[in-house]
Subunit: 318 residues, 2 copies
Amino acid sequence: MRQAGRYMPEYRKLREQHSLLDLCHTPELAAQVTLQPVERLGVDAAIVFADILLPFEPLGLGLSFAAGEGPHIANPLSRQADVERLPRVDPEADLGYVLEAVRLARAALPADIPLIGFAGAPFTLASYAIEGGSTRTFTRTKTLMYQAPDTWHLLLNKLAELVGGYLAAQARAGAQALQLFDSWVGSLSPQDYRTYVQPHSRRALALATEAGVPVIHFGTGTAAFLEDFAAAGGDVIGVDWRIPLDDAWRRIGEAHAVQGNLDPAALLAPAPERDRQVRDILTRAGGRPGHIFNLGHGVLPETDVGAVRAVVDLVHGR
Amino acid sequence: MRQAGRYMPEYRKLREQHSLLDLCHTPELAAQVTLQPVERLGVDAAIVFADILLPFEPLGLGLSFAAGEGPHIANPLSRQADVERLPRVDPEADLGYVLEAVRLARAALPADIPLIGFAGAPFTLASYAIEGGSTRTFTRTKTLMYQAPDTWHLLLNKLAELVGGYLAAQARAGAQALQLFDSWVGSLSPQDYRTYVQPHSRRALALATEAGVPVIHFGTGTAAFLEDFAAAGGDVIGVDWRIPLDDAWRRIGEAHAVQGNLDPAALLAPAPERDRQVRDILTRAGGRPGHIFNLGHGVLPETDVGAVRAVVDLVHGR
């Protein structure tokens, strides 16, 4: 998960002076934010500070973030011509500021703290590009998917090539692991996942895997098609709290590592309940190698940073 | 699912002159809207036109609907005292207008078209009452659940008694089946469902079952804890499109009937893709008795009414 965020006082302080996009666009600041959770929380890895929607800028989609409102896409995609017109994105030239943030963060991090690069998965990116922002129903996304499957596959193919190359570029810049976020894939039926999404996730993950570092494939709401989700690729499968970790791992198979899966809301619970949930996950992981303890999704802004630190300490102390 | 809605021209016409709450509060109009889908779509059953949040009015929570914005709760619950203060709701006295709509709709419907009554499940109602409206993260809901479990259980117990009695009253007024909607229960981990929600759903369903008519227990995102969801009660288990119907039915067991599970977005697809998905569900149901064909959630406002009619005809023609 993106570790830095509004729950951290030092991050909020930076945000008083810089917009989210300013932070992302300024490698020195992005690297600084990348390091904040390592210092504050004592986590075992850092994840570069960026946003999954940054590739929308070189794609010409017009990205902005209104305060407290989430992303806004000025030029959403709706027609075949829109998708055909999308320019080819060169991560080195067009997203070089993220790669520079990776280099700076890698140089500043302690040698024993790996740095994770990340990108949004083709489906999740497509949903924002088509809806123009967040959605609960994915109506426009699924309408295009069903009504214009050729346009859909062209779009997802372009996004897969883009994010696969972008992830590989982050590895070349110094990221020692890569994560593909398919946050909204759980809105799909298992059949639609296989037909419309899995081939493109597979392509993106294959391109990322060529970089030679471990790849984490994360999704939420994947309980009904976890086998297919895992089959798309990734050395590590990230799952949310909606499925018990041991059930998930058994279904994914021991050839994969697993990441997860504390409900971010558990960080809002009193310590005994929070710690009980943490211990339950560790018990379900069974002490086997190949479990990355993590939340099942991002830290909620309302979270007390001390609660996050306490969870890190509890996991380490075990 | 609630069958009438913005996708129907005759419903939109009524809404030009009446607010959603006006329609609900006026039994003659609510009964009229209840009949619209039967006439327009040729469905096998009608569901009374109402809203799951209507009980918030006698509870003193202050319910309103802003245009296109979903529900707003003026007095959301946050403290033990708020919950203790909630008045006991008498469905006959406090929601009599719904019961009158049931009576009028029953009297107006053809004898071979059963009428379904419904209510929101304790968890889904609690989430609105605590958040003050819709939410993507259920942050306040889960915070109260974890921080103040006594308050939580008191609230859910009160809601269970309320909706259980309300459902039974609808059966006495003429509803020949009852449905409990737990639309947002899929936001919970399986363990939290068992601990914080299942006992209260069980109580509500037990009270409804005493009325002596079939009870449908509907939820979305339940793939990871479907067995526990079914064990809470209900003769029929409603599932969304996120799980294949045959998988769901096998896990629920043949002692239960099953309802579902077309993705509402499939109604936006071209006819061949839409019909393929409908046939796939019918095939998975295997022609056995005990399958109620339905959507996995409500009809999207963008839906063409002809597409809904075509699905009804396809299901009937098979």
